[in-house]
Symmetry: C2
Subunit: 255 residues, 2 copies
């Protein structure tokens, strides 16, 4: 019998979130699971790391599963760094992050703690996938995602992922028709700030906003999700817009 793969599981909603508990359950069918996740919700943390503060970490026993678990006081990216460089004996064969409660499709990938953990693992050379469900409710039904998660993870374990590639997988909240490989839709948030005055007389704001999809393409994640497909976007951490280098070389920047 071949050795089981070592799978690192993390998220940004915190170690007790229903999404990560589902993901742990599915991963236990595939390999040896180690969970290193934030001890409290870290949504919207982007790719934040803890560089000027202490990082706490403790072992947890949350359910009776075979996995080993640790919670940390850090961000999702911190969790991956700590797992890889301190807690694990060997490099994991796979890192999965999520299942996030809410969308990380299109431009949301930029703000996503879930995806930052997966990207951090990708930077370490570990095949990595972020999973998200388009449902913010804490009691959302993650059941229909399980079979797709297992299939996608088995494919990544068998085929590998080219260095520098991370998968961003989003699940629709409606009945699932299948899977589509997509590009990130060109969409954005139009913010509205709700201005209030505190009982102490200080002005403060709540950030709210409306999501606007400006992209009509039928090859985008937003389109696939709208149609009831699971969207799979290959994401990279080389942010260089290579196609624009020639344009800039025409500028006179040396006075």
């Amino acid at each position: 019998m071949s050795k089981k793969p070592l799978i690192l599981v993390t998220n940004d909603d915190g170690i007790t979130a229903p999404g990560i508990r589902t993901l742990i359950k599915v991963m236990n069918r595939i390999g040896d699971v180690v969970v290193v996740a934030p001890d409290s919700p870290q949504s919207g943390m982007g790719h934040a790391i803890t560089i000027d503060d202490t990082l706490y970490c403790r072992e947890e026993h949350i359910d009776n599963g075979p996995q080993k678990e640790y919670s940390t006081s850090g961000t999702p990216a911190d969790c991956v760094k700590l797992a890889v460089h301190e807690l694990l004996d060997r490099k994991p064969d796979l890192c999965v992050s999520g299942i996030n409660h809410g969308s990380n499709s299109s431009i949301n990938v930029i703000y996503s703690g879930t995806m930052s953990a997966a990207i951090e693992a990708g930077m370490e050379g570990i095949p990595a996938i972020g999973f998200s469900l388009l449902n913010y409710n804490w009691d959302a039904d993650f059941g229909p995602t399980e079979q797709y998660i297992e299939t996608i993870c088995q494919n990544v374990l068998e085929n590998g992922l080219q260095k520098g590639i991370i998968l961003n997988v989003n699940f629709p909240s409606k009945a699932i028709k299948g899977t589509k490989i997509c590009r990130q839709a060109n969409a954005n948030w139009v913010e509205k700030f709700d201005k209030r005055r505190s009982p102490m007389g200080r002005d403060y704001y709540w950030l709210t906003g409306e999501f606007i999809n400006q992209d009509n393409g039928e090859d985008t994640d937003e389109w696939a999700l709208e149609q009831g497909y699971v969207s799979v976007v290959p994401v990279q951490f080389d942010l260089t817009a290579h196609y624009y280098i020639q344009e800039l070389n025409n500028w006179n920047l040396n006075g």
Copy 2:
């Protein structure tokens, strides 16, 4: 006389950092300046946003310059959102972020609060540039950067930047030879955690690490900076690895 451009200035080291004070001084030569910056250091915040907490903002008078200034309790990305959607009467013609105390070249762009503010502005359709100096000292000499910053900003104001492109500009800490348009080097951090025990008996960690440049290319930002050039990398927020979509289409993800 033509109308002066409206320039939004922000950073991640906080509104009183010497880097942003230099940037404000240079921008006052070019346009009408509004500063919206964090009230305390936010380094390593990546593209974090404040979504479940209050955001404070107040007007500041830090020096006798002509600029208008606000500090906020938020992240660099929050500052840009608040500026564009609440504080400014019109869309700025340019957003500049920095000058960061320390490098945001190569993979550091992923963790950078300085660049997340510039990227947020780019997402709003505002031409945006992040500036960083490869010197972490609070009393670093920003003088040699001033002429280059002015030239780069004038070029962006005259030529514009294609929607979706943001410039990541890093200055060497040695004598400057000129400017190079570059790609992001393939480099990474190898983390080391310094494990300690608190007086109360809890284990905790400090994150430390060593920067490893694995990229020998002479078209990278790391190479340019090493040689004494200012590196200019065009950065994008479409994270899709378009070249990998065909590969994934060969996988069997629908079981």
